[in-house]
């Protein structure tokens, strides 16, 4: 990637932060029906670090889960070898190879199979062209980007042709960097209708990252693979969205609690129950907010940092597909963007971790027979990352005054 593009993309990612947060609340009723224990979220002078004990307990469970995931991730190849060649040593032939490919899929290692590569190529083609489908559909329905945002009669004529022009650029792969810039421009224009409208179009901006980093002569070449850099940015944007959404659930806890009040069944999720185990039932809704938020923070953080990217990506595919086909229906057809983006990420063999340096250190130590240092480096790194990822903002959020929300 050219250095000049880095600040631009970084600025885009930062601009997405507030918008990403509310994207999924657009269709969901969130009026608060019962008052919350407001003191739960603020400073608790008698408690450790001033954090409410139940909140601290959930944060600690999240911290331990993240630490465990990180340790397993850093030792994943050794674990794979141990399981494949020791525990399941009797396997052979297609069963052994099948298990090996499955293990590689789960551990973000290359899956060297022709059909896997073919799906990856197809996913990139879908990712590149899918925005054009929705733009064409929007143009024919007098809406902008999404069918649910009707165009103003004064500018409808211009925007209909503009969308068709943009879609033609995408479908023919012509001047993709220009197409990327136009997408960003359109997204900025969407702010005219408010941040919620712009937030819903974030997946289009994710595609714009791919367009901007494509060559100007894009119409001449068959783009069927993302480069490592493109993949990295797509992963960062997608993961960041979830990460931010998780933290904003704590920041704007009234909105999150409102969702639970209107849809009580969401509080029965077993995974959220796991994060909230052992907490005081008096603060059931408050605990649910923190557990729900931190579960999302963890998944977003791991996707963003490239920790078991394929596992989290597959979960996201499930969530997005369900949203599009089951929960919200035709109005959510733009979810085809994140689905295509996630498919391209999941079926790529170029997955890398932002913490690859730690893997290199532990492998080098292992090779030199420094087992204690190897274990210590992974343990210390995992603990440090988890502390920063979980406790810092949990602690910081206890100081926030939310009266303006």
């Amino acid at each position: 990637m050219r250095p000049s593009r880095l600040p631009f993309i970084s600025a885009t990612v930062l601009a997405l932060f507030p918008a990403a947060v509310y994207a999924h609340e657009r269709f969901v009723r969130h009026d608060l029906k019962f008052p919350l224990h407001e003191a739960y979220f603020g400073r608790n002078p008698g408690a450790f670090l001033g954090i409410q004990p139940d909140m601290m307990r959930i944060a600690t469970i999240s911290f331990l889960v993240l630490t465990a995931f990180l340790i397993i991730f850093f030792f994943r190849q050794d674990l794979d070898v141990f399981i494949s060649h020791r525990v399941l040593a009797k396997l052979r032939g297609p069963a052994q190879r099948g298990l090996h490919h499955l293990a590689n899929f789960l551990t973000d290692e290359p899956v060297r199979l022709p059909w896997f590569h073919a799906i990856g190529e197809w996913a990139v083609v879908l990712f590149l062209r899918s925005p054009a489908l929705v733009l064409m559909y929007s143009a024919t329905n007098d809406s902008l980007v999404m069918p649910s945002y009707p165009l103003e009669p004064t500018s409808a004529y211009f925007f209909k042709f503009f969308q068709v022009f943009l879609a033609i650029l995408m479908l023919t792969q012509t001047a993709l960097p220009l197409a990327g810039a136009l997408v960003i421009g359109t997204w900025i224009y969407l702010w005219r209708w408010g941040w919620m409208v712009a937030a819903d179009a974030i997946p289009v901006v994710t595609v714009a990252v791919l367009y901007i980093t494509s060559p100007w002569q894009s119409y001449k070449i068959a783009i069927t693979e993302m480069t490592e850099t493109q993949l990295r940015w797509v992963r960062l944007v997608l993961g960041f969205g979830f990460f931010a959404l998780g933290w904003l659930k704590i920041y704007n806890y009234h909105l999150t609690a409102g969702v639970a009040d209107n849809y009580p069944s969401v509080m029965d999720d077993p995974m959220i129950g796991f994060f909230a185990m052992g907490t005081n039932p008096v603060f059931r809704r408050e605990n649910w907010i923190i557990a729900f938020a931190l579960a999302e923070v963890l998944s977003g953080f791991m996707l963003m940092m490239g920790i078991f990217t394929r596992v989290w990506g597959t979960l996201m595919l499930w969530v997005f597909t369900k949203l599009m086909l089951v929960d919200f229906g035709w109005d959510e057809i733009p979810h085809i963007y994140p689905i295509a983006a996630t498919l391209a990420v999941v079926f790529s063999n170029k997955a890398r971790s932002e913490f690859s340096i730690i893997e290199e250190i532990q492998r080098k130590a292992g090779r030199e027979g420094r087992s204690v240092f190897r274990l210590a480096s992974v343990l210390v790194a995992s603990l440090a990352i988890s502390v920063v990822a979980v406790y810092m903002l949990v602690y910081a959020f206890t100081f926030i005054n939310r009266t303006n929300l």
Binding site: Q77, V81, R92, G93, H100, F116, N349
Partner: protein, 350 residues
């Protein structure tokens, strides 16, 4: 303190196996000198008239053990030779009196180790360990791990972290590599006595290829750490390893040249010729059996062509009498000389 130092300087206690007719028992020498004779006060009492009352004694000498005859009537023999005083080595046979009588085996090697030594010695003719002395082979046997693999079992996969060197004792393996797009290439077929895994052992990077057994295969593996220690005082092994690496580089260069300059028919004939040379078993009638299952799929991956083209060419070569399909789908080259000639002609056409 001096006791501790003395203990540290003493060689490890030897083990003896005493054999007297049907009787056989293991003895650990607890202290030296270790006396042997017919008298009851001896450490090892042998109630045989041919053995003197005070026959011989085993003593420590630096890091070694020696046996000394104590002026016995019938004499003491080590490996059939009469001795007065003799340094003892592992598996030495010590006899008292006449041959065929009771005897001791000094520090016997275990059955497994003996088997391993035998196999290592057998394979050392063509492996990197070919110039090792019997003593070194014995040392090697102690640090290698032997394992048996069923047919069609991956010894390791591409990209896996591992730092062991493997040596094939029996059987054969297929070495393949696959691109990120899943396109597979057969790099080589290796047989008994050949080594693999040396690249990852040396540079510490993940495995560059997948190795799969073609038939039930026995292998010995050595970890990087053990190999490093073992090779430290034996530079000839490192030279052999370098030779092996050079051979791989030459093979890769030849393969690249062939792929870029020769047509598929030539490449296929060259692959068949190579397999015949390396893994062929010549029968009484002069025909040669390629002793491993190599089908069109493997050959296609070897020569960088698709399976259909290779199948068509194999049928043509079969019709031309260059190859035959034998039992268990193994290929037979009825006239190896004809295959060589065909390769020469194909080379001129390509």
């Amino acid at each position: 303190m001096s006791t501790i130092v003395a203990a540290l300087e003493e060689p490890p206690r030897p083990a003896l196996v005493f054999v007297n007719g049907a009787e056989q028992r293991k003895i650990t020498v607890e202290r030296v000198p270790y006396s042997i004779g017919r008298n009851d006060d001896k450490d090892l009492v042998i109630t045989d008239a041919r053995v003197s009352r005070d026959h011989a004694v085993i003593q420590a000498e630096g890091t070694d053990y020696v046996i000394q005859d104590r002026g016995s009537k019938q004499g003491t023999y080590v490996n059939g030779a009469k001795i007065e005083r003799q340094k003892l080595n592992s598996n030495d046979r010590i006899e008292f009196g006449v041959k065929g009588g009771p005897y001791l085996i000094f520090n016997p090697t275990s059955t497994e180790q003996l088997q391993m030594q035998k196999e290592l010695a057998a394979t050392s003719r063509i492996s990197i360990f070919s110039k090792l002395s019997p003593n070194d082979v014995e040392q090697l046997a102690k640090i290698v791990t032997q394992k048996e693999y069923a047919a069609d079992t991956a010894v390791f996969f591409q990209d896996e972290p591992s730092d062991s060197l493997y040596m094939i004792l029996k059987g054969s393996v297929k070495v393949t590599t696959a691109s990120e797009a899943g396109v597979e290439k057969v790099l080589d077929f290796l047989g008994a006595g050949e080594i693999f895994g040396e690249l990852a052992m040396l540079d510490g990077h993940p495995r560059s290829a997948t190795v799969t057994t073609c038939e039930p295969t026995e292998m010995a593996s050595i970890s990087r750490k053990d190999f490093k220690n073992f090779a430290a005082g034996r530079p000839e092994i490192l030279w052999k390893l370098m030779e092996s690496l050079c051979e791989r580089i030459r093979k890769t260069s030849d393969s690249m040249l062939e792929m870029s300059s020769k047509e598929v028919p030539y490449r296929l004939l060259a692959a068949l010729h190579q397999l015949t040379e390396k893994h062929g078993q010549v029968a009484a009638d002069g025909s040669c059996l390629i002793n491993m299952k190599v089908g069109p799929q493997e050959l296609a991956a070897m020569v960088g062509a698709n399976r259909e083209v290779v199948s068509r060419l194999l049928h043509k070569y079969e019709a031309d009498g260059l190859i035959e399909l034998g039992k268990n789908k193994k290929l037979i080259v009825p006239h190896p000389a004809a295959l060589t000639k065909a390769l020469e002609y194909a080379s001129e056409w390509s």
